[in-house]
């Protein structure tokens, strides 16, 4: 299937006959993702103000080692190298970070926004060479599933945190923070379980899905989530960032957690 001879051979960066604002959506994504990345990186390095009462910031959970009462295995361990910076978030945040980095939706979005490959549909690209996800380094995107499996576990811990957020030192209660953490796990659940890899693993892998009636039910539900994967991705990104901000500002005494019950 030899390549045909084409008139439009040498595209130039940005060349297009489109008249709409094609740059708008990639620019908005560039800004949105950059703001989140900068905030999340800053917040992860703080190693402070990540808990408030029964709440813990999702950036810091599960807290393997750390100084808060939420820590699973106690304070910073003695064997942890002195010269390495320490923060409970750094031990865990790479899992959701790499999960999102290798997510099919985000890949398509940041290839456009950050790498202009292509800048937008039917718009000329800055570079001639192209490897795609066929060879190193982007072939590593194929390991998305690995981070999916780790994300099931992290999500499980966040569910536990959301449940714990109902139990205050003076007993059962509901604060704004309780709702923030509860909404956050719902949105994160919609994102994680609407994952394309999960959709494949649960039912997409079968050519005769009717032979697996139970898996088929789940497959249908996952397909429903998956059809809205982009929305879940953004909603959960916003909520996870906001949950950290909420806990942080309460802990710093800038915001006051309001208790309903």
């Amino acid at each position: 299937m030899s390549a045909p001879d084409i008139v439009w051979k040498d595209g130039k960066f940005g060349r297009t006959s489109r008249r709409d604002s094609w740059w708008l959506s990639p620019a908005a994504i560039l800004i949105g993702l950059s703001v989140f990345l900068i905030y999340a990186t800053w917040a992860a390095w703080q190693n402070g103000h990540y808990t408030y009462g029964p709440y813990i910031s999702p950036f810091y959970s599960p807290e393997l080692f750390g100084s808060s009462p939420h820590a699973l295995f106690g304070p910073r361990p003695g064997w942890y190298p002195r010269y390495l910076p320490f923060s409970p978030a750094l031990l865990i945040l790479w899992i959701p970070g790499l999960f999102r980095l290798t997510c099919y939706y985000y890949r398509g979005a940041y290839y456009k926004s950050f790498w202009a490959d292509p800048p937008a549909c039917a718009v000329g690209e800055p570079r001639k060479s192209y490897w795609g996800e066929r060879s190193f380094p982007l072939i590593l995107q194929n390991f998305h599933r690995l981070f999916l499996r780790l994300s099931y576990i992290v999500w499980g811990f966040l569910v536990y945190d959301a449940v714990r957020a109902f139990f205050f030192p003076d007993g059962f209660g509901v604060g704004i923070g309780t709702l923030v953490l509860a909404v956050n796990v719902i949105l994160l659940g919609g994102y994680v379980f609407g994952c394309h890899a999960f959709r494949h693993l649960i039912g997409g892998t079968f050519d005769r899905v009717s032979e697996h009636p139970f898996r088929r039910r789940i497959y249908q539900a996952v397909s429903w989530l998956n059809a809205r994967h982009m929305k879940w991705a953004w909603a959960s990104l916003l909520s996870v960032g906001f949950a950290d901000i909420y806990v942080r500002l309460c802990s710093m005494g800038i915001w006051h957690d309001w208790r309903f019950l």
């Binding site: 299937m1 297009t16 489109r18 290839y111 292509p118 039917a122 795609g132 066929r134 599933r145 499996r149």
Partner: protein, 245 residues
Amino acid sequence: MGKPATFRIWRGGPDGGGFQQYSTSVEEGMVVLDAIHHVQAEQAPDLAVRWNCKAGKCGSCSAEINGMPRLMCMTRLNELDLDAPVTVEPMHTFPVLRDLVTDVSWNFRAKKTIKRFHPRLPDAPDGTWRIQQADVDRVQEFRKCIECFLCQDVCHVLREHHKHDEFIGPRLLVYAAALEMHPLDTEDRVSDLRHRHNIGYCNITTCCRQVCPESITITENAIIPLKERVVDRYFDPIKSLFHIL
């Protein structure tokens, strides 16, 4: 009553060409193909344009309208801003034969490199098969394809990087998905998809899905599931070892 509208139409051949401007009067309910026919009838009898059904079903009238790959017969003029000239070009990803007509035969040659449908032995003595509706739900979507090749046109792997030798493009990935996911098919195309058809070139930027006039969810329902099958085979030792999700 008609009102005036201006069209910038690409005129030329295999060696190149350029835009020429035509004004004609347009009426309510018209599509771009009607306007092209007006121009052809009134001012440019030698303007080449291919069409057949004028109903969005034959896939012949593919072109680029104001820079976006679209069917001329399904693009209504009232969706376009007629205060500025409307640009109409042939598809950029295929060789131009003349004016708006391109040679899309590469697609048919590339299609032949995909292993054919190979059904299991018949289920009944009369040589027929039994299929559950649930099992064909997914592949039915792919059969809506009208082979307009607008998705091939917009795909940057072909359009910008001219990987026609190595990459089969979204239309043919949809075709491969229809066969590979078919409940009766026994052929294995996963190795070809990775090594011969280079599905890895697709970076899931979803332009193909955005232009498909049949609204086939190309990227999410065809390409990503095929990529996941490649992952099953080559990148996920854990799944086969431990049977986990």
